[in-house]
């Protein structure tokens, strides 16, 4: 199914003509589907992406919002292209305990990453690009995020499992706006049930896959 098919399906279920709708405009149906698209990604964490960017000389912190094209939910892993190694995920407390207590003052080839707040990525030691064995200053950040909104009608939904929850969410959203509260809440219960199924399905596929990949690369 593609985005256009989803729209047709929603129009059918709200008993509207797709070509000349009476009550709901096409843009409203698209928006409702995109709301579901976003909610489903947050609930199920199905969308994984990666971005490459260059570490800057003597810069410890990088904004995830500025560097990740899609909205990040959490960072899964970071690959250093120059040293061809995974960064270690650490925390400030661990750095203080297990590293030199003035860890911020240490520069070199970065090997650790940590997050401050929810959106600031820190690297340790802070990169000194001139004096290390770097031949590149690029890192690749793997992250779980929210995909871009559905745009073109011919965009294919990547998994069949996502289609039904998307339609149900759009119906819930539209019926809620229409004031049919009882029906909307009934649709919401259905949506949650479907989204939970997708979440279990995603956990069974993706998460294990990534951990396995890390283990294989570590070995």
């Amino acid at each position: 199914m593609n985005f256009g098919d989803l729209q047709s399906e929603v129009f059918l279920r709200i008993e509207e003509s797709e070509s000349s709708p009476d009550y709901w405009a096409l843009s409203e149906v698209k928006q409702a589907l995109n709301e579901g698209w976003e909610d489903l990604a947050r609930r199920t964490k199905w969308f994984k992406s990666s971005v490459m960017f260059a570490l800057q000389d003597e810069v410890t912190y990088y904004s995830l919002l500025d560097h990740c094209p899609e909205e990040p939910i959490c960072v899964d892993a970071i690959w250093d292209l120059s040293t061809e190694r995974w960064f270690n995920h650490t925390s400030v407390k661990d750095l203080e305990v297990s590293s030199y207590y003035r860890w911020e003052a240490i520069g070199g080839s970065s090997i650790n990453y940590f997050i401050r707040g929810a959106l600031q990525l820190g690297v340790h030691p802070y990169p000194i690009l001139s004096d290390s064995a770097h031949n590149s200053d690029m890192i690749k950040v793997y992250y779980t995020g929210i995909p871009f909104p559905l745009g073109p009608d011919d965009y294919s939904i990547p998994f069949r499992e996502l289609e039904l929850p998307l339609i149900t969410y759009a119906l819930y959203d539209l019926k809620g706006q229409e004031g049919e509260d009882t029906f909307a809440l009934q649709l919401w219960a259905e949506y949650i049930e479907e989204a939970n199924k997708v979440r279990s399905w995603v956990r069974g596929h993706y998460t294990r896959g990534i951990e396995r990949r890390h283990r294989a690369l570590d070995e």
């Binding site: 909205e71 925390s91 400030v92």
Partner: protein
């Protein structure tokens, strides 16, 4: 980045009150602002740092107005201990006497809602304004790293990802439906309350995953960052016993 007007418009549309006949725009804006503040407080998503410039002989310092909670503090990039008032009283019974214990600050505590007390009381005055990284150059000053509220929505956009603003919209709708009078709807306010709480919990969990370390540290079970006791020493299993050859 989305703005206050985006969220209030969406909320009004979904409340079926685009003309603001039941819920005024000011009321919806208040709910959105409350939701934003609450989200920042609960998830500690926004992080910032500032210098609280040392002043000779001054122990109390005013915290930034957007302060939510302290993350950590450093002096010359050395972490400082966050200490309770009771503990400080035990260590130094003259801690409130500003002329008694002076020197380089080593610990601090948050005194009330908007004040921070350094201990010992700084003996020199320093003025540093800009945060510079890396901190190789010794900055002999008190740097506070803290979680903060978002900037004022009447002048700035949301500083959080746009999908998170949907969570704030749910909060605004929950509050709007819960308000007694026209528009009160017990079923819907409970529904949006549940959505708000679920989203908040989800964001908290995502942040927890991000911040805590996965690394295993020797002497600790599991991968948490909280300290645990190392295992109790035991004698070898054959110690002091005759073993048949």
């Amino acid at each position: 980045m989305r703005s206050m007007s985006n969220v209030t418009t969406e909320a009004a549309l979904r409340l079926g009150d685009s003309g603001n006949a039941i819920w005024t725009l000011a009321e919806l804006q208040r709910y959105v602002k409350d939701g934003y503040d609450l989200l920042c407080r609960e998830t500690l998503c926004l992080w910032s740092q500032t210098y609280l410039n040392d002043r000779a002989g001054q122990s109390d310092y005013v915290l930034p107005t957007d302060f939510v909670a302290s993350d950590r503090a450093t002096w010359n990039a050395k972490p400082m201990r966050e200490i309770s008032e009771g503990r400080l009283r035990t260590l130094d019974h003259q801690y409130q006497n500003e002329s008694a214990t002076t020197g380089k600050p080593e610990s601090y505590y948050i005194d009330g809602m908007r004040s921070l007390r350094k201990h010992p009381v700084p003996d020199t005055t320093v003025t540093t304004t800009a945060i510079t990284f890396p901190t190789t150059a010794a900055v002999l000053n008190f740097r506070l790293e803290y979680f903060r509220l978002g900037a004022d929505l009447s002048s700035y956009a949301f500083e959080i990802p746009s999908s998170w603003t949907k969570t704030i919209r749910h909060y605004a709708m929950y509050k709007a439906y819960k308000r007694h009078g026209d528009g009160f709807n017990s079923k819907l306010y409970k529904h949006y309350q549940a959505r708000w709480e679920f989203d908040l919990d989800d964001l908290r969990k995502a942040r927890g995953t991000l911040v805590s370390s996965r690394r295993v540290i020797a002497g600790r079970r599991g991968t948490g960052t909280r300290g645990r006791r190392p295992p109790t020493p035991r004698l070898p299993w054959r110690y002091g016993r005759i073993v048949r050859g």
